[in-house]
Amino acid sequence: MIETRGLLKRYGQLVAVDGLDLSLRPGEVYGFLGPNGAGKTSTLKMLAGLLSPDAGTIRVAGVDMVASPQEAKSHLAYIPDRPSLFPELTGLETLRLVAGLYGLDPAESEGYGARLLEGFGLSAWGDERTGTYSHGMRQKLCFAAALLHRPQVLILDEPMVGLDPQGGRQIKELLRSQASQGVTVFLSLHTLEIAEKLCDRLGILHHGRLLLEGTVEEIKAAAGSRQDLEGAFLSLTQEGSPMAAPGGEA
């Protein structure tokens, strides 16, 4: 469902993403882990069509993102790490804007949007401007907006940040439910506990390169210890570790 080959992104002299090869299946929840500055957000933005890669290919639902960005974008939804919305629009107007941008049927999207708002506990806030929303409410509205066009791929950058325990649980359940319906979920995370419970597979990114990918057990085994995921992650990404060194084994 998502496939990248030799993905490369540079900012001046800095190589943020360095020859990344990824392959995600339909219905899979893939967690992207890595220290700050590893290149996770740049990768996610390239997958969402927000940044153009300097080299390499991206295919979303079989469509080349560089050659046909519009078609590729119509299959995916992206939620940024900071849930920024137009503060002058109300919650309902935001959903109507998204429906218009994706060319959805107004009557159908109106009903589905109302159900999504209700599902996220935002019904009473639909007519309020998003500038008055709390961080968690904006995050939930972003989810509602992302799901409105029923995407085949969800790309989420740190989706759990700023959510209360109930909200966090609701999102986890939602992601699992989407995955069970065949939606591919690609998310970056810092909370390893959530990654362990939520993700089918994990990829560890460091200095723009994919150090390792696999199930939690495979990663623990590759780290060569009986530690938990946190210990494995730390030992893998520790500066000086053979894998973390530039040119190390991937």
Partner: protein, 568 residues
């Protein structure tokens, strides 16, 4: 307030403001340095143009026997009043932001740093921020005056000292007004109150223009009338106003040095005393006021709905595609955002003043008949500048106004080319409508010759397209979604570059029309039908090429930047 407070405040400015900027400059790459050099070059050209315009004006005024000193004195009064207003207004806006709305204040006030020291640092920073550009603009004015009146380098320094003294008053009075106002209203509301103040100021400007009755000067044959007008003309400013003090101090340099020195002492000592009073009072009142504004919601208070809310609600409820959705989003953002409404007010006033004064020109006077064509050229040029001002205020910062929410639009299945084309067409429609109104008014009021009518029509049909392209394309390429007030883009370096490019385009566009139109006139007068093709076709071809380039290049530049993911 002690010496330690002052040194600590200066340390804060160096540590928090200057060092990070110096660090950022060190990390600049070739492209950023090139842009900065281009900006500096544009600023230098702009200042040189101001000097080039004022130098002959002051020279001409100084040569008028009997009236010369009076004319210069009146002009310096007007200039000081304008500079004082600019600086005071700028201080009001920058200090509101620096002292109360800045997101970093929460972190700074949570440290053991004494609030009075933070106030002092931010107050000094606001003064520097509001005064430097005004002082820089004053340099060519002072140099032009010195060339016309003499006095050497001492006069230039004296004139600069007048402006610095004036800036103390501007900073002190504005900050006092700000602190006093915030005891009554929250910062968010104060912004809206400032909208009302600007509206009143705009009305006052119209009244001042009417009080001056400039149309009397169009009676060019009667110099006595002009002289009488000048003698009767008094600016509505009493002698104790800081701008009048500065004008008196400057006037005294040549005419009465003792009085000049006295005014200068009053200006500086009074200004410094005012700054000290503000520092003492503000230092004590700052923390309680800041806490109060936080309780009131800071600057995040959403704008209240206006009379257009019902219409917007009905439009949102209708079936729509991406074009209608984007239009509605743009309309909602424009109508519900205080700063955007303020822009509307400014531009509405600009158009109103233009049309009002056009209607008041005494065109029936037979002595003015010969001025129809020159006045038409000036009015058509002004119309183009009004269009440029509208596009620069609305279309240029539009990309940046999307802010961090731009991901919603950029991840949607709409190509950046289609998105830019939508913005271009929307802006062009509005600009063409406004252009038609202004141009039609000029034609009706001034009844130009057919040759000028044709030239004006050509410019009015093409200028909106090029101006829209420049503002939309460059606005996308130079967009700054992280800016707190994207509306300020037009007054920054990129805005200056845009205005210079647009000004160059307008000059070239008009200049290239002159030879073919002249040739057509020659043919019409001589009744010959063998044109000089080189004079007719070459400039016309260059003119067409200019139009095509001015429309296509900026849009291509903007599209490439968006496709690369600039600002994402």
């Amino acid at each position: 307030m002690s010496w330690a407070d002052l040194t600590q405040a200066l340390w804060l400015i160096v540590r928090l403001e200057l060092k990070p900027r110096l660090g950022a400059w060190r990390r600049w790459q070739a492209g950023e340095w090139a842009r900065a050099c281009a900006g500096l070059l544009v600023a230098f050209v702009f200042l040189a143009l101001v000097y080039g315009l004022l130098r002959p004006t002051f020279g001409f005024l100084a040569r008028q026997e009997g009236l010369g000193p009076l004319l210069i004195a009146r002009l310096s009064q007007v200039l000081f009043l304008v500079f004082f207003s600019m600086q005071a207004l700028s201080q009001l806006i920058t200090s509101l932001s620096a002292l109360f709305l800045d997101r970093g204040l929460e972190l700074l006030l949570a440290t053991p740093l004494a609030p009075r020291r933070l106030f002092l640092a931010r107050f000094m920073r606001s003064w520097a921020a509001s005064a430097w550009m005004v002082a820089l603009l004053w340099v060519p004015v002072a140099l032009a005056m010195q060339r016309a009146l003499g006095g050497g380098a001492a006069f230039v320094l004296w004139a600069l000292a007048c402006l610095v003294g004036l800036s103390f008053w501007g900073a002190g009075l504005s900050t006092l007004v700000l602190l006093a106002s915030l005891r009554l209203v929250a910062p968010g509301r104060l912004r809206r109150a400032m909208t009302l103040v600007f509206a009143l100021m705009a009305c006052a400007l119209v009244l001042v223009v009417r009080a001056m009755q400039p149309e009397k000067l169009t009676n060019a044959g009667n110099t006595m009338a002009a002289a009488e007008w000048l003698r009767q003309f008094r600016l509505p400013q009493p002698g104790w106003l800081p701008s009048a003090m500065a004008a008196n101090a400057l006037d005294g340099f040549h005419n009465d040095p003792a009085a000049g020195l006295g005014w200068m002492a009053l200006l500086w000592l009074g200004g410094l005393a005012l700054l000290l009073a503000v520092a003492l009072w503000g230092g004590r009142a700052y923390l309680p006021l800041w806490l109060r504004t936080r309780d009131a919601g800071g600057g995040k208070e959403p704008a209240r709905g206006g009379p257009w809310e019902g219409l917007l609600g009905r439009l949102w409820a209708r079936p729509r595609g991406w074009v209608a959705s984007l239009c509605l989003q743009e309309a909602a953002r424009t109508l519900r955002r205080d700063t955007q409404r303020l822009q509307f007010l400014f531009l509405g006033t600009l158009v109103g003043i233009f049309l009002f004064n056009l209607a008041r020109l005494p065109m029936q006077d037979p002595e003015v008949a010969s001025l129809h064509d020159p006045l038409f050229i000036a009015s058509a040029g002004l119309s183009c500048l009004v269009l440029l001002a509208v596009a620069a205020r609305f279309a240029f910062p539009a990309q940046s106004l999307e802010g961090e929410a731009s991901w919603l639009l950029r991840t949607a299945p709409i190509s950046s080319a289609r998105y830019l084309a939508w913005r271009w067409l929307g802006t062009l429609a509005l600009l063409s409508g406004l252009g038609l109104l202004l141009f039609g008014s000029c034609v009706l009021a001034l009844k130009p010759s057919p040759r000028l009518l044709l030239a004006g029509l050509l410019v009015m049909l093409t200028a909106p397209m090029a101006i829209t392209s420049l503002c939309v394309g460059l606005g996308a390429a130079w967009g700054r979604p992280d800016m707190e007030n994207p509306e300020d883009m037009v007054t920054g370096g990129s805005g200056l570059l845009l205005l210079t490019l647009a000004g160059l385009y307008l000059l070239l566009s008009l200049g290239l029309l002159v030879p073919p139109l002249g040739e057509l006139s020659r043919l019409a007068i001589s009744h010959r039908f063998t044109p000089r093709w080189a004079a007719l076709l070459l400039p016309a071809a260059c003119w067409l090429l200019l139009q095509a380039t001015a429309v296509a290049l900026p849009m291509r530049y903007g599209h490439q930047a968006l496709a690369r993911g600039q600002g994402a």
